[in-house]
């Protein structure tokens, strides 16, 4: 059929030749570039992680600062066109606060007469950039008072700044958790796949059991046991480890199946016959040859970690204030009545969804690219 027709084409010969000499990584990159969604997702993720790294600089306000006069203030829209026409410099309108005669609550509305132009590289609260340089420069702000592009929460804290700070915790927990899982997965999966036999059976049973336990109840059970008096950093690592205690199983399976198929490959046999030590065979011959698959699987398991942290923190069993993560922010949105009045409290959802989506697309692209000798149709 058509498949037959596309073989043995002289026009492809030169291309084929290139393929033979190209390194595995070059091939992967070439294949990966074809996945436009994965490329976009990769760029999005780079932006997200840069945001996490530079959140102090990007955030206009101190995320823990209470503004008691501006509780539940709605988002100020960034504008270019106002009453006086277009201005190249973006601006926001200030708030007008009134007390609701019925509920006696402060209600904040946008005041169109109060134009506040946005200034760039302004001074604000001081912080250490990347933990190194003491500075107080922020990307943007306004001359007087504060800007709340995404509104404020129940204590008048700036949602945008909190989300940006939360990015650091929530996305890094995915990376660190996956790192722990990966170590566990490579060791256990490697042992399972390399030695086979009884060891393999036992480990496979264990993995099956762990996978058959519903994760959220298990995570809940484990994280509820973290002592409440622990300092935030320790809780952070505690949660990460709990997440990776389950997460390693998937990676171990990938490693194992790769080990099993590689065990029979000629170059491994050759190394064995040549008298190379086992550990060297594993680290120098086997691991590099399936690194690409591991990277793809790792990418696909990061979203699970992020969602796990978010869920646990949302339930109050994970990270707790004053630590800021997307899950902690979502805790503020637990009550429907509150959400209905102040829908901007749901905004962290958008960030979670975008991040998870980006990881899924990137992982899909990587998985396809990881098989450079696979079918060209993808």
């Amino acid at each position: 059929m058509t498949h037959d027709d596309t073989q043995n084409i002289p026009g492809q010969e030169s291309k084929d030749h290139e393929i033979y000499v190209a390194s595995q990584w070059t091939l992967m990159w070439r294949r990966f570039r074809k996945h436009r969604m994965a490329m976009v997702a990769g760029v999005v993720l780079i932006c997200i992680y840069l945001t996490g790294a530079f959140c102090e600089f990007l955030a206009p306000n101190d995320p823990n600062e209470h503004n008691t006069r501006l509780v539940y203030a709605p988002p100020q829209r960034l504008r270019f066109v106002g009453e006086e026409g277009f201005s190249l410099r973006p601006f926001v309108y200030g708030y007008k606060s009134q007390r609701d005669p019925v509920t006696l609550q402060r209600v904040h509305t946008i005041n169109k007469e109060d134009v506040r132009p946005i200034r760039f590289f302004v001074r604000g609260h001081s912080y250490r950039l990347l933990g190194l340089f003491e500075t107080d420069i922020h990307l943007f702000g306004i001359d007087e008072g504060k800007v709340f592009l995404l509104g404020t929460d129940r204590l008048g804290r700036d949602m945008l700044s909190r989300i940006l700070y939360g990015t650091r915790i929530s996305t890094s927990i995915g990376l660190i958790g996956v790192f722990f899982s990966l170590i566990l997965g490579i060791i256990i999966g490697g042992i399972s796949g390399y030695y086979g036999g009884v060891v393999d059976t036992v480990i496979q049973r264990l993995i099956e059991v762990l996978r058959s336990i519903p994760t959220i109840p298990l995570w809940m059970g484990l994280s509820a046991a973290l002592p409440p008096h622990w300092p935030p950093l320790r809780v952070y690592f505690g949660i990460t480890i709990i997440l990776s205690l389950i997460g390693w199983t998937g990676l171990a399976r990938v490693v194992r199946s790769k080990f099993i198929s590689l065990r029979e490959e000629e170059f491994v046999m050759a190394a064995k016959i040549g008298g190379t030590k086992e550990i060297r065979i594993i680290t120098h011959h086997m691991v590099p040859s399936f690194m690409s698959h591991i990277i793809a699987s790792v990418t696909l398991s990061i979203p699970g970690m992020i969602l796990g942290e978010t869920s646990l923190s949302f339930l109050g069993l994970g990270l707790r204030s004053p630590v800021i993560s997307w899950g902690v922010l979502m805790q503020e949105a637990q009550n429907v009545q509150t959400v209905a009045l102040y829908p901007w409290l749901l905004l962290p959802t958008v960030f979670v969804v975008v991040t998870v989506l980006a990881f899924n697309f990137l992982g899909d692209g990587l998985r396809d690219a990881a098989d450079p000798y696979g079918s060209w149709g993808g």
Partner: protein, 355 residues
């Protein structure tokens, strides 16, 4: 027009089973149009075996698929006719090329009048049903038989194709049969409704050599018993020599040579046919080395202008072969070839062939 390509001299129109006229089947892909079959004309007669030979990608399989209208969603018959004469006593032919590929008429022909067996006996059976289930399916469908009757007939057919203990094997799943048995079962499925034409698309390529011979022998036997015609697609000239009465040689969607089998082997005309023959090792032929055909089959999206074989042809005539496409030239009663080495085609031999 019919004279050139009407198989053996003595046959008349009553015995004609299938008449393919200027068939063009093209595939639309993202990279362009593949002209897999590009103007093919041949006949098949009742009880005759037609061999179709050529390299991979020359359009043999697509021609076969077009006859059953299973060329796939991307394939399209853009031109030509496939006339099928169902009634041996004469009567109007059905033009298969014009039928709806999922319509009632073609479905009544598939499996009943024309059957096909494929190269891959491993994957041609669906693994989750017993072979009996899959054989009985066409019997029930075409012969309106009850399940019990159909089962009997299926057992009968399995016995016919030489499967031992057919009443037990009928309830086996395909993966429990060996490759040879599976191909026999495949043939049984194809023959279960006594078709008039069996298309065998490389039926022995995936089997090992001893089994190949058995399967070919079986097909010959069955043909004698049931009197069906066979269209045998293969890239092996050895198989052709053993099985076929008439041969067409295909290259890049066209027929380059069409001859009675002995005539072809004794007197190959087209450079491509000759090249194919030199590829076959022969005992005591005295030739030291096998000669490969220069280059490989060109990109199907960019078929060369003129004669599509000219870039690989040792005898190509500059300014003619790469400009103009040759048309069939009649060499003798049972032999025609599309090559400028033998004159200018249609006009030259005066047959009025206009393909």
């Amino acid at each position: 027009m019919q004279l050139i390509l009407t198989g053996l001299g003595e046959v008349d129109s009553v015995s004609k089973l299938l008449e393919v006229r200027n068939l063009k089947t093209h595939f639309e892909t993202e990279e362009g149009t593949v002209k897999a079959v590009n103007g093919v004309t041949f006949d098949i007669h009742r009880g005759q075996t037609l061999g179709v030979v050529g390299e991979s990608g020359c359009g043999k399989s697509v021609t076969a698929q077009s006859i059953l209208r299973i060329e796939g969603a991307r394939g399209k018959i853009v031109e030509g006719d496939i006339l099928f004469y169902p009634d041996p006593k004469g009567g109007d032919p059905v033009n298969i090329a014009k039928l709806d590929s999922d319509g009632q008429e073609i479905r009544a022909i598939r499996g009943k009048e024309i059957s096909i067996i494929f190269q891959e006996p491993m994957t041609s059976f669906c693994p989750v049903y017993t072979i009996g289930n899959q054989i009985m399916e066409s019997i029930i469908l075409h012969q309106k038989a009850e399940a019990l009757q159909a089962r009997e007939r299926a057992v009968e057919t399995l016995r016919l194709v030489g499967i031992p203990k057919p009443e037990e094997r009928i309830d086996e799943y395909p993966h429990r049969l060996s490759g040879g048995l599976r191909q026999r079962a495949m043939i049984a499925m194809a023959l279960s409704c006594h078709p008039q034409l069996l298309i065998a698309d490389e039926p022995t390529t995936a089997l090992d050599v001893t089994i190949q011979a058995q399967i070919l022998e079986l097909m010959r036997e069955l043909q004698r018993e049931m009197g069906m015609a066979i269209m045998l697609i293969t890239h092996s000239l050895g198989v052709i020599a053993e099985m076929a009465q008439r041969v067409i040689v295909m290259y890049l969607g066209r027929i380059v040579e069409d001859a009675e089998v002995n005539e072809l082997f004794d007197n190959p005309k087209h450079p491509y046919t000759r090249a194919l023959m030199y590829c076959v090792p022969r005992l005591g032929s005295g030739i030291e080395r096998l000669q490969p055909i220069l280059g490989s089959v060109p990109d199907p999206y960019n078929i060369p202008t003129g004669c599509s074989f000219y870039p690989r042809c040792p005898e190509f005539i500059e300014g003619l072969c790469d400009v103009e496409a040759p048309t069939p030239v009649k060499i003798s009663e049972n032999h025609s070839v599309s090559c400028f080495l033998y004159g200018k085609g249609g006009a030259a031999d005066g047959s009025g062939h206009t393909d």
